[in-house]
């Protein structure tokens, strides 16, 4: 197990370097001058442009810039954003908010998604199953910002159940509606995936054996069926954790949540290179750690998998 974790950690290094390099190149090598953009429509003073370029290291070659970025990163320095604030500072404010939001969405999709999936899988072909199948398909095909706006207008403004926008991003109760919206699509996926998996496993020999040897239904469903059916679901949930952190761009924008997604969106549209690279680096780390955790969880769920 220890050796497996070590090998996986080593494999993460080239992936980390490659992914950050792609984002780095997309930000700095593509057309568009970030420093000139700082001046907006005004004519840029060449001396100031040169000074700023030097300050952010933009006068060096791309490879040198990337090397500087990497070596600073290992010292724990994410650089300074074009707004003159430390990137680590900005992220330090935004990350706790996004973690709370992602947690709300994650708990919802895991609990309700698996519950709905188990229910529909066990009641396959019944009316409950049909209704849930149609509803989840609808949720998947409606763009998330439409769901977000409808939820905001109806639940927030017209029926007045909750605040339509988040006034204090650190108050987790205000994050429940954005969390539901953020998790809705994944919830639909989780329930469908669980259903498919349950339907596949329910006809397997070990379930028949478990019933035949007289185990109570609760144990057959809760232990034998569920534990085996959850293996593909756990993979999805793990990779989705990363997606929830980054995919919150839309949801955070609609509900005015001051999290990572909002920060990143402002950084991208404002062409704030250091902030974009820093934020995406953080998201890549989340993604890599989540996929490592998924692989380790496999061993817990499925004892047939052993890591050498």
């Amino acid at each position: 197990m220890g050796r497996y974790i070590l090998r996986r950690l080593l494999q993460m290094i080239p992936v980390f370097i490659g992914t950050t390099l792609i984002i780095f190149l997309a930000v700095y090598a593509l057309p568009g001058d970030p420093v000139k953009a700082l001046f907006g429509d005004k004519a840029a003073d060449p001396a100031t442009v040169a000074r700023l370029k030097h300050q952010y290291g933009l006068d060096k070659s791309l490879i040198e810039q990337y090397w500087m970025y990497l070596s600073n990163l290992f010292k724990g320095d994410l650089g300074t954003s074009f707004s003159q604030r430390e990137v680590s500072d900005i992220l330090g404010d935004a990350i706790p908010v996004t973690i709370q939001l992602a947690l709300v969405a994650f708990v919802l999709e895991a609990v309700f998604g698996i519950a709905l999936g188990m229910l529909t899988g066990l009641k396959r072909g019944k009316i409950v199953d049909q209704i849930v199948l149609v509803l989840t398909l609808l949720v998947i095909s409606i763009p998330i910002f439409v769901i977000g706006y409808l939820a905001q207008v109806y639940i927030g403004t017209k029926w007045g159940i909750v605040n339509p926008t988040v006034t204090d991003s650190n108050d987790i109760t205000q994050l429940i509606l954005p969390g539901i919206v953020l998790g809705s699509v994944s919830l639909a996926y989780v329930s469908r995936l669980t259903r498919t998996s349950v339907v596949e496993n329910i006809r397997s020999d070990y379930i028949r054996t478990a019933i035949a040897k007289g185990l109570p239904r609760r144990r057959v469903v809760g232990v034998h069926l569920m534990r085996n059916s959850l293996i593909p679901v756990v993979t999805f949930l793990g990779t989705d954790l990363g997606a929830l952190m980054g995919g919150a761009i839309v949801t955070e924008g609609i509900f005015n949540v001051k999290g990572v997604g909002n920060t990143l969106y402002k950084a991208i549209t404002g062409a704030d290179g250091p902030l974009v690279v820093g934020t995406v680096t953080f998201l890549v780390v989340v993604y890599l750690v989540a996929s490592l955790l998924v692989d380790l969880l496999y061993a817990v769920l499925d004892p047939r998998i052993r890591y050498a």
Partner: protein
Amino acid sequence: MPELNDTATARATATVSPAGTGDVTPEKPKKETSNSLWSNAWRDLRRRPVFIVSAVIILLLLAISAFPGWFTDADPKPGDLTHFLQKPNFSHIGDADWFGYDAQGRSIYARVIYGARASIIVGVVTTAIVTVLGMLIGMIAGYFGGWVDAVLSRLTDIFSGVPILLGSLVILQAFTGRTAWTVSAAIGVLGWTQITRVMRGAVITVKQADYVQAARALGAGSGRILMKHVLPNSLAPVIVVATISLGMYISLEATLSYLGIGIQNGISWGGDISDGSEQIRNALHVLLFPAGFLSVTVLAFIMLGDAVRDALDPKLR
């Protein structure tokens, strides 16, 4: 026996799973004929209502995006403020005021019809890029194995580490005058990893099959084996993933347009939904019609992909 199975198969078709795992339906084993997987699948598909419905919707959308003039006489571009946020008039089927007017007094029906083309182009072109790249890389990695596979698999890991929405936002931000083609290219460059993984897995399975060994023993070269044996036999899962992702790319383009970084020239559903969301408190119909068309399109591709998957899944036979 087809009559007996129809309800069971119809239920099974309505399943989406991102991992591409099939749904098992208790179906009577069909009589084995000499027919290929593809003709069996086609016979099976023709009987599925879900397939027929989604295929009809998709054909209609293709017709709308190719010949929008056939479906409306109204012009989608000029606004007439006397029609400001006018409510839909459902009795005027096919007229300019059928779906009402938006905040600039433009006919929503005409805009929905003319906006279809951008979405369809993004969906089809992105899927084409992703499929070609993904199949090529997956086939090379799976067939040659060894260090080639190691390098390409790491490359796949790297690209799948870039979140697709964020990555395409960063790329597209650098371009001005974005068209449906620019957006497709940006999504396509980042989106090929899923098909690569599916293809690689399929190729590794096919490679060990006896008929491939036999072909190699008869002296066939790598090129011939890849084209004549490996490719046709690993196509099925790729087609399923590609069809379902086509809908997803259309939805992604709308999200990009909503964030203001999508198609800039011309009419698109994403842009209109974004405009409509500003009017959501006054006039819901401005948002509802483009959003409805978009959702139905995405839905049609997902259902088509599901139906094809169920028809091609050998576990159902």
